[in-house]
């Protein structure tokens, strides 16, 4: 039994549900938004053994019958109160108990909230990326306009982007931006040396990697202007880069993830971040790579041994 946690409005989750149906796999899909009102989880550790169950109005599923959990978007925008009180920055108590279950569950989870949270602090994840063998990228986080100007003058082409989980459009600093750098006093801003080359998105699914090269005229290939260009092609990674990707994903405890690389003209690979909730369908539709099918097959029969808590 696969436990899928995620809204069907998420195309990746919906596609997996369809694929699993086609495979005849046993799964249940539950929407985190109705957790606590329409369904719940109970769990315990007794005599060192993790046990638990998922309760819905129609059935109860024992934790030991769950082979894997797909956990997607446990925290939704409606969970994020707009109040700026710091206590509100954490998950609401109701969702916190679901997050605790998913984190403590001893079987396979794609991905545990504790693993996924590394992506919410980009410079933290960047250190883990560097530790896996990818070269560091000159980066400045600052509230000081003069320091920002100095960094841009020194590094040449520089992009700026968010530091946290907030999705931001990556853009190169233009002359117009340079003139309004005083605004960084209001908010710490991350500047990074622009790395020339082509983007390579790598999806890791268990032991398999699917690499897609993106050639585009835009700084951020997700946002290509109408007059811009973007081509996406399935590619093979050099063996050493593939090994680094697997090392990195293992270090982050992510069996399924999207790794953002850029290959420079001289063949070096830089890594920007690792996405724990990869929008794999976007790449699949251009390249035909069977990423969704592979994720579904992996959830059905994970290719690594399942661990059970026994102290």
């Amino acid at each position: 039994m696969i436990l899928m946690l995620g809204p069907l409005a998420d195309s990746g989750t919906a596609n997996l549900a369809l694929t699993l149906t086609g495979m005849g796999s046993e799964f249940i899909i539950l929407d985190p938004r109705s957790y606590g009102t329409k369904w719940s989880v109970d769990w315990s550790i007794e005599a060192g053994q993790f046990t638990g169950c998922v309760r819905t109005p129609r059935r109860t599923i024992a934790a030991e019958d769950i082979t894997a959990i797909w956990a997607h978007m446990l925290l939704l925008p409606e969970h994020n109160n707009v109040e700026t009180s710091p206590e509100r920055l954490g998950p609401p108590a109701r969702v916190a108990s679901l997050i605790a279950f998913v984190d403590a569950f001893p079987g396979h989870v794609v991905n545990r909230p504790s693993s996924a949270s590394t992506n919410s602090v980009k410079p933290y994840q960047a250190r883990l990326i560097a530790a896996s063998g990818f070269p560091p990228i000159p980066t400045l986080i600052t509230t000081c306009p003069d320091e920002a100007r100095r960094f841009i003058d020194t590094q040449g082409d520089v992009i700026f982007k968010s530091i946290s989980w907030y999705r931001s459009r990556v853009r190169r600093v233009t002359n117009e931006d340079f003139a309004r750098l005083d605004r960084v006093r209001n908010c710490p801003t991350q500047f990074q040396k622009f790395v020339p080359g082509h983007d390579v998105r790598v999806h890791r699914v268990g032991a398999q990697l699917f690499a897609t090269e993106v050639v585009t005229t835009a700084d951020d290939y997700r946002y290509v202007p109408l007059d811009g260009e973007r081509t996406m092609t399935a590619v093979d990674l050099p063996a050493d880069v593939a090994a680094r990707c697997l090392t990195l994903a293992d270090a982050l405890d992510m069996d399924v993830c999207g790794i953002d690389l850029r290959r420079t003209p001289d063949g070096e690979h830089y890594c920007f971040e690792v996405n724990p909730i990869p929008g794999y369908l976007f790449y699949e539709q251009y390249t035909g790579q069977p990423i969704g099918e592979t994720i579904a097959a992996w959830l059905d029969k994970p290719d690594v041994a399942c661990e059970r808590i026994r102290i």
Binding site: S44, R55, V82, A104, V121
Partner: protein, 305 residues
């Protein structure tokens, strides 16, 4: 200001150290930050407030007693206030994890304050350090919770929140219904996190730097009513070592570990608090904990410029 921060601040000043204090009187735009995040040298990175800047290569240690409670700037729109706060917290979490000097304690991105047993392999980690793991339950069904707890045969139950939103308290299993009826608001909606507590001596072990200091626990008798201030309790070397090992494994330089030690010398770990307070303890205990943290914060070797 937090009492712990105030005591350590005073201790560091008394020891002749220069201290920069960033407290909750600051707004998000008062704090200045400049961090070269890709290097292991810190000479170009600094923190500042009200025009005073401190190079991070001149900083030996950082005591973190809050992360986030900076006031939003009144000049910003609410949606901007939220964005700025989230970005600032992310920047500081990244910096505090990268900084090579002493940090008490490094924050876990996104998940600070969570219970040790909800971490992956948390129960195994606690056991590996030499502690017994109490039976624990996270149940939405309260009748079932009572039944399960009665099955354990232990007389007490510790009720807490999974993310510290329910004040932890210990009650007799027989009085659990009454206790749960007192939960209100969000706490009333969430599954109850309960640990069965065996009979035994209850102690709190403060791990500060390399020292472990044991005290009694308020309410340890399991009854309500005023309690004396926790004073120093005996601590066996084997338990002290286990406490230090557990704190180290969790990357905590300051932690409070709540234990129940049974007659058959099993030491059950109920909780590891990564943000402990100690101003309710006797003066002697407070002084020793403060001294241990001052020592830890001062002990770092030079940070590379």
């Amino acid at each position: 200001m937090d009492d712990c921060a105030a005591q350590v601040y005073a201790g560091l000043r008394d020891a002749g150290h220069e201290v920069l204090l960033l407290d909750d009187s600051l707004s998000t735009t008062d704090l200045e930050l400049n961090w070269r995040a890709d290097t292991d040298t810190w000479g170009e990175s600094w923190l500042g407030v009200h025009g005073r800047r401190v190079r991070l290569s001149d900083v030996r240690g950082i005591l973190l007693r809050m992360l986030g409670p900076l006031r939003p700037s009144a000049d910003q729109r609410p949606e901007d206030q939220r964005y700025v706060l989230i970005e600032l917290v992310a920047a500081l979490e990244g910096l505090l994890n990268a900084f090579p000097g002493t940090v008490i304690n490094r924050p876990s991105p996104g998940l600070s304050g969570r219970n040790v047993y909800t971490r992956r392999r948390g129960a195994q980690l606690v056991a590996r350090c030499g502690f017994a793991v109490p039976d624990l339950f996270a149940l939405a069904d309260r009748d079932r919770l009572v039944a399960d707890l009665q099955r354990t045969g232990h007389p007490f139950v510790r009720v807490a929140g999974l993310h510290a939103r329910v004040e932890p308290h210990i009650v007799r299993v027989a009085k659990l219904d009454e206790s749960l009826a007192g939960l209100t608001g969000q706490a009333a909606d969430q599954p109850i996190y309960a640990q069965s507590v065996p009979n035994g001596e209850r102690r709190r072990i403060y791990v500060a730097g390399k020292r472990a200091i044991a005290t009694g626990i308020p309410g340890a008798s399991g009854t309500s009513g005023p309690e004396a201030r926790p004073e120093r309790a005996a601590l066996e070397p084997v338990v002290a070592n286990a406490a230090c090992k557990l704190a180290t494994e969790l990357d905590l330089r300051f932690a409070a570990i709540d234990l129940v030690s049974t007659d058959d010398e099993q030491h059950y770990c109920l909780e590891v608090n990564e943000f402990p307070i100690y101003n309710h303890c006797t003066e002697e205990v407070q002084a020793e904990i403060t001294s241990a943290m001052v020592e830890d914060l001062s002990a770092t070797e030079e940070v590379a410029a």
